[in-house]
């Protein structure tokens, strides 16, 4: 098993290369998922602000962008 990880003395280069590959692709996978959730949250917040504006008498604190 340790022979496998040693990779004939090139282990440090090989495992670093594979780590770069997986870390970059992991970030690339997670970033758009987080962005989609954030965008949906922004839209919900916008809808809530519009609802508040239609109803008079609601606190103005919700209308920061209005």
């Amino acid at each position: 098993m340790s022979a496998f990880f040693a990779m004939g003395g090139y282990g440090a280069y090989i495992w670093t290369a594979f780590a770069v590959f997986f870390i970059v692709l992991l970030i690339d996978t997670l970033a758009p998922l987080a962005r989609r959730r954030r965008n949906l949250r922004d839209i919900r917040a916008r809808i809530a602000r519009q609802e508040n504006r239609r109803r008079p008498g609601t606190p103005a604190s919700n209308e920061s962008n209005a």
Partner: protein
Amino acid sequence: MANWVPLWLHRLGSPPTFYRFAGAVYPWALGLAIVLGGIALYGGLVLAPADYQQGDAYRIIFIHVPSAWMSLFIYAIMTVAAFIGLVWRIKLAETVAMESAPIGAAFTAITLATGSLWGKPMWGTWWTWDARLTSELVLLFIYLGIIGLYHSFEDRRQGARAAAFLVLVGAVNVPIVHFSVNWWNTLHQGSTIRLLGPSHIAASMVWPLLTMMAATKLYYIASLFSRVRADLIASEGGKAWVRELALGHAQDGKA
């Protein structure tokens, strides 16, 4: 040609339909990419023998070469999408072009980093200004330029159109990267896999390489669809289908 084909394509070009389609394909593309990637790595790291010249160091090929192929393949797809977006002004084509750029940049960066990690033990240097390496670095800068230009506009579609022009201009670099090992004397080795004629590699090494190529292609589909979905939520934010989707999600979250 049956006329349901263009109709189907036309429907797919509409954002709500594509959003659902992409959402249905995403888990399958990503899942299959992970399974194939796992098989390819087992084949490449465990089953394939060491190279007679490079020993075990050559095993970096199983991620370096598929990433390099993807850096060019994604640019080609991005060029076609940018062209369609500029000529026919199809919003989805612009989105596909712009959301391809970060994935292409990621694969180009992986190619450069893994190439450097392969170059140090084999050539004795991390980096050299030869044709293949320099043109791949230029490719990374072109990708970053496209991403930067797109985001520098207040209006998304205006940014997409400006960046799409840059995509078409930058396409000149793609054949330069590909043929650089033939056109110039370079430290980088020539093509290992050839479409025409026999490949310069043993069968036990070629199947993990081709499997990884399939895995990276599927990964690109998954990542692109995920990005396009995220983008459509923002760019179609005022439309009824996105509002329904957002409110539906809120209920799912509470349940």
